[in-house]
């Protein structure tokens, strides 16, 4: 009896200030806007995605401190799809149908994006997708704030070819849709540039591959043929650590065979001793080491939010930041959170990115991004060695693949995601 009373008192003691706090806050805002966060917080992808969840929460806090959007308070609705692709679709439906969120920030892997796509199109939702991807997709309901292949892979290969003088190429990837499509595009691009098939080696390994000895030995043998060789790595997730460890162990230095990675950023390096990796490259649209006032402020805020002065920032975080700010701008311009109106308002909007440039939303639902090439240095950061002079507009359909080079995505004038410029027909989703 006594114990029950005690518990009751405790609950009351905890609940009272909480209730007061919410009622106080609620009074400052004129209603609520629900924001969905669809990132895995458990399972394989938690390593990468949980950071983006924190980023969205931080941005929401910050926006609420500025008075919310349209005078309304932003309320995050966080769900955990647990790195389980079908669960992504279920959770997306839950967010759109049950919670009725105005916008969703989410997904990392392409397979999770493909899984939620039908849900967003059916329920007319709005998804901001913050990760570099393989392109070959365009949906009215999705805004791609990460890089398309022409904003990451192609410039990286150009840099290696023209500035480093690479003649032989190893395309090494994890066995799933993003590496396979990217490598297909790269292979077509390299051949168009006159590289012979003998000088290209394509190789795939399973997810989470950990025994890299023979693969690395193979790269070493391929690279010892006297021509400058580089590895273009689309190896994803956990497999990177043992891969780089093996490179270091077999003494493959970046001066001889540089590895340029599209999925390795500051976050991945923070779990690694980078001394053997110095000089290996990564291509991104943002590096934590880029010096700009906006970036400095963002990093400071992130450290304060995470209460960890060593927490690193990375490219998908910047893409989330850009996506969030674009959405806020669009809602304020449209004066409503109605999905259709916000989607129509977004193309043409501009927002500063973290590297001192501007991100502009294009009619194909991609954005303009600068491309940076960085070399890994020995404290887990990247030294920028090359960058594009201006921002590069994202291209949904690659110009180097036979099936997709005639396709065009334009949701403003053509109102079509895959308009065939030869047959003058819209082949897929229409507005």
């Amino acid at each position: 009896m006594q114990r029950r009373n005690l518990i009751r008192t405790m609950i009351a003691a905890v609940a009272a200030p909480l209730l007061m706090a919410t009622s106080l806050q609620a009074s400052a805002f004129d209603g609520e806007i629900k924001v969905g966060v669809l990132h895995s917080l458990s399972g394989t992808m938690a390593i990468s995605e949980s950071t983006l969840k924190d980023t969205v929460l931080m941005l929401i806090d910050e926006q609420n401190a500025k008075g919310g959007v349209l005078g309304k308070k932003l309320v995050p609705v966080v769900v955990d799809p647990a790195s389980n692709w079908p669960l992504f679709a279920e959770k997306a439906a839950e967010l759109l149908e049950k919670d009725k969120v105005s916008v969703v920030f989410g997904c990392w892997t392409s397979v999770s994006r493909k899984s939620v796509l039908p849900v967003f199109e059916k329920d007319n939702g709005l998804l901001f997708y913050p990760v570099q991807y393989e392109g070959e997709e365009s949906s009215k309901n999705v805004f791609y704030t990460g890089a398309a292949p022409n904003q990451q892979a192609i410039p990286a290969v150009d840099y290696l070819m023209n500035d480093v003088g690479v003649k032989r190429w190893v395309l090494e990837g994890t066995d799933y849709v993003y590496p396979r499509t990217t490598n297909k595009i790269l292979e077509a691009y390299l051949k168009a540039k006159g590289v012979k098939s003998d000088d290209i080696m394509v190789n795939y390994t399973p997810f989470g591959f950990s025994d890299w000895q023979s693969e690395v030995a193979k790269i070493k043998a391929f690279g010892s043929a006297g021509k400058k060789t580089a590895v273009v790595s689309t190896i994803n997730g956990d497999a990177n650590v043992p891969f780089y460890k093996e490179l270091g162990n077999q003494k493959i230095s970046a001066e001889d065979i540089p590895v340029v990675a599209f999925s390795v950023g500051e976050q991945e390096l923070s779990g690694l001793d980078t001394k053997p990796l110095v000089g290996h490259l990564a291509a991104w649209n943002y590096f934590e080491s880029v010096k700009s006032p906006a970036n400095k402020a963002f990093i400071k805020e992130w450290h304060a939010y995470k209460k960890d002065p060593k927490a690193v920032t990375n490219d998908p975080m910047e893409a989330t930041y850009i996506g969030f700010n674009l959405w806020v701008k669009a809602v304020e311009k449209a004066g409503t959170t109605d999905t259709t109106k916000v989607i129509d308002t977004l193309p043409g909007l501009e927002t500063p990115n973290l590297t001192g440039g501007t991100a502009k939303v294009l009619p194909n639902h991609h954005i303009t991004k600068p491309v940076y090439i960085g070399e890994i240095n020995d404290d887990g950061q990247f030294d920028v060695v090359w960058k594009t002079k201006t921002e590069v507009p994202g291209d949904a359909w690659s110009d180097y693949l036979p099936g997709s080079k005639d396709l065009k995505s334009d949701w403003v004038t053509l109102k079509c995601g895959n308009y065939n410029t030869k047959t003058k027909q819209c082949v897929g989703q229409k507005n």
Partner: protein, 582 residues
């Protein structure tokens, strides 16, 4: 960027340090997990002292300031704002200036220790300092004079890229040609052979005139011959090709290869080149085979390590423990925690992690046996489900305590790098040690099972529980101890894995299937079977990989296993006699 971050950028070569408070915090969370750490307190006290001890150590102060020729000082000064290709030219000029400090400056640039101050335009060499130092020991790059320590905020590192670093290495090698140590000179020649041009060849010629060490002389001859191969003089080419016969170096091979097939090559040269190339090809085949075998054995030993604990819990006791992988993960995290506790003694941390991981995973195993498994004996399906659930719980627990991010466990110096047997054949030290380690663990386990009273009881209980109990064996106690032993070995395997792959919450998942595969293939209940099956699966996998690719190789191995189990359901070495029925 906050200040701490800049400090990290300014002190290359120093491991990102962990502040006292953070270490305390992490140490505490670690203690939650690793309840049995008796060593923790003294080890912790020790490294606080060690930390304080390393905060000194200036560099370059001892050298006498030479009278610097004008262009040397100017070139060094210009480094501050030059582009990468300009820096390459400047580095070349610095070498030609003949200034005695040229090597120090270039080495500092290569090591990322050359800094500049944007205000006064001066160039400095920064000495070693800990990450969070507020002032750095500096010396003047041009004079070598030791200056007052500077704040990391005032100076910027002069950057390098891959191309510049390669140029620097060759230039430094050129300077090192006159080093008193023959080994350094031999290395220098080897480095120069990677990028031969007129100036390096001239430098080699000059050195050859007064070189006395036969080993270095041989390398120089090879280098000069390599230079001659590229020339137009057929007689010189022939002499060079003959001299280079038997040299296994990649550069040599690549220079000879086109000559051996070239149409307009002098026939004598072509024949000599062909002979040399065939010789290298022959050895390449042999060493490649040896390398594949080694790769297979090392993959096999990882399989054996991860499976041998399971061979005890599953093989001997018959418990399907799906949380076996997570016990390995606990072991790997123990290695990580040990390293947090003693960050300045990486070797000791890894060695101490072995018994610590055995205790942590072993105790976790005993707890699992007492808390869950013992209620489910004889009900394999329920055991499977319960332990699978437990594995998810353990993963999420680790995610909550250590965050879902992967943690890095540094490799001790003696385990990193390669053992270069010759130009074609090298073994990576970490793999070599892990093969040895797997064999030691296997031998130790065999001893325990065959020579100790615990082993005797374990075998007795697993063969005939009722009879063993009748003989006075406390079967419950034996069950717990056996499960603990198997789990402890899993923990040790985790320490080994921490040297090869990610330490993260998913570590266990990637090995559990392989472990079951090895045990079933080897024959349940047979430790020798586990050893043989692990090693042979490793070798078969690596033999297939170059032809089929990593994905297909794995599929082939699985298909082969399924077919094999169809024919011999009890594996390679089935238990015979009465034990088989138990």
């Amino acid at each position: 960027m906050t200040r701490t971050d800049q400090v990290a950028v300014l002190t290359p070569g120093v491991q990102p340090g962990v502040s006292l408070a953070q270490r305390l915090q992490r140490g505490l969370s670690a203690l939650l997990l690793a309840t049995s750490f008796v060593v923790a307190a003294p080890a912790f006290a020790q490294d606080v002292q060690a930390d304080a001890g390393t905060a000194t150590g200036a560099d370059g102060g001892g050298e006498a300031a030479p009278a610097a020729p004008h262009d040397f000082a100017g070139d060094v000064q210009s480094m501050a704002d030059a582009g990468f290709s300009e820096k390459e030219d400047l580095a070349g000029q610095i070498v030609q200036s003949g200034n005695p400090r040229a090597m120090t400056v270039l080495q500092a640039l290569l090591d990322g220790k050359l800094y500049s101050n944007s205000d006064d335009g001066k160039v400095y060499i920064v000495g070693d300092a800990p990450d969070d130092a507020t002032s750095l020991p500096v010396s003047d790059a041009i004079t070598g004079e030791t200056l007052k320590p500077m704040s990391p905020d005032d100076i910027d590192r002069i950057g390098t890229n891959n191309g510049l670093r390669k140029t620097l290495k060759v230039l430094i090698a050129q300077l090192k040609l006159n080093d008193p140590s023959a080994t350094v000179r031999r290395q220098a020649v080897k480095e120069m052979m990677r990028d031969l041009d007129d100036s390096t060849i001239a430098a080699l010629r000059e050195r050859k005139a007064h070189e006395t060490d036969p080993g270095v002389l041989k390398r120089i001859d090879a280098g000069l011959a390599l230079g001659d191969l590229g020339g137009a003089d057929a007689d010189k080419q022939l002499a060079a090709a003959t001299l280079l016969y038997g040299d296994l170096d990649d550069e040599v091979y690549n220079a000879l290869k086109p000559l051996s097939t070239g149409k307009d090559t002098d026939p004598r040269v072509r024949a000599a080149a062909l002979k040399a190339v065939q010789h290298v090809d022959f050895w390449r085949d042999i060493y490649n085979a040896a390398q594949t075998l080694f790769f297979g054995l090392s993959l096999g030993s990882v399989l054996v390590l991860s499976a041998i604990g399971l061979a005890i819990t599953f093989g001997v006791m018959g418990v399907i423990n799906m949380a076996h992988g997570e016990l390995m993960m606990l072991g790997a995290y123990t290695a990580y925690v040990m390293q947090l506790l003693m960050p300045n003694h990486i070797t000791a941390a890894v060695l101490l992690a072995i018994p610590a991981a055995f205790c942590v995973s072993g105790l976790a195993g005993v707890a699992i046996e007492r808390g869950i498994v013992r209620f489910l004996y004889g009900r394999p399906l329920e055991t499977l489900l319960a332990t699978f659930g437990l594995s998810l719980v353990l993963q999420q627990l680790v995610r909550s305590i250590f965050s879902p991010l992967n943690r890095s466990v540094s490799t001790p110096d003696f385990m990193s790098g390669v053992w270069q047997l010759n130009d074609l054949f090298s073994l990576t030290w970490n793999r070599l040690y892990i093969v040895l380690f797997a064999l030691i663990v296997f031998a130790a386990l065999q001893l325990v099972m065959k020579r100790t009273s615990l082993g005797l009881k374990v075998r007795a209980v697993s063969q005939n529980r009722a009879m063993a109990r009748a003989m006075g064996v406390r079967s419950q106690w034996v069950d717990a101890a056996t499960f603990g032993l198997g789990s402890g070995i899993a923990g040790i395997a985790g320490v080994a894995l921490s040297q090869l792959t990610n330490v993260g919450p998913n570590l266990g998942q990637s090995y559990i299937i392989d472990s079951f595969m090895v045990v079933v293939f080897g024959g349940v209940g047979n430790l020798w079977g586990t050893l043989i099956s692990g090693m042979s699966l490793g070798v078969v996998n690596k033999l297939l990989e170059p032809y089929a690719g990593a994905v297909l190789a794995k599929i082939f191995v699985l298909v082969f296993l399924i077919l094999f189990i169809q024919r011999r359901p009890r594996g390679l070495f089935p238990q015979k006699g009465r034990a088989a029925e138990g």
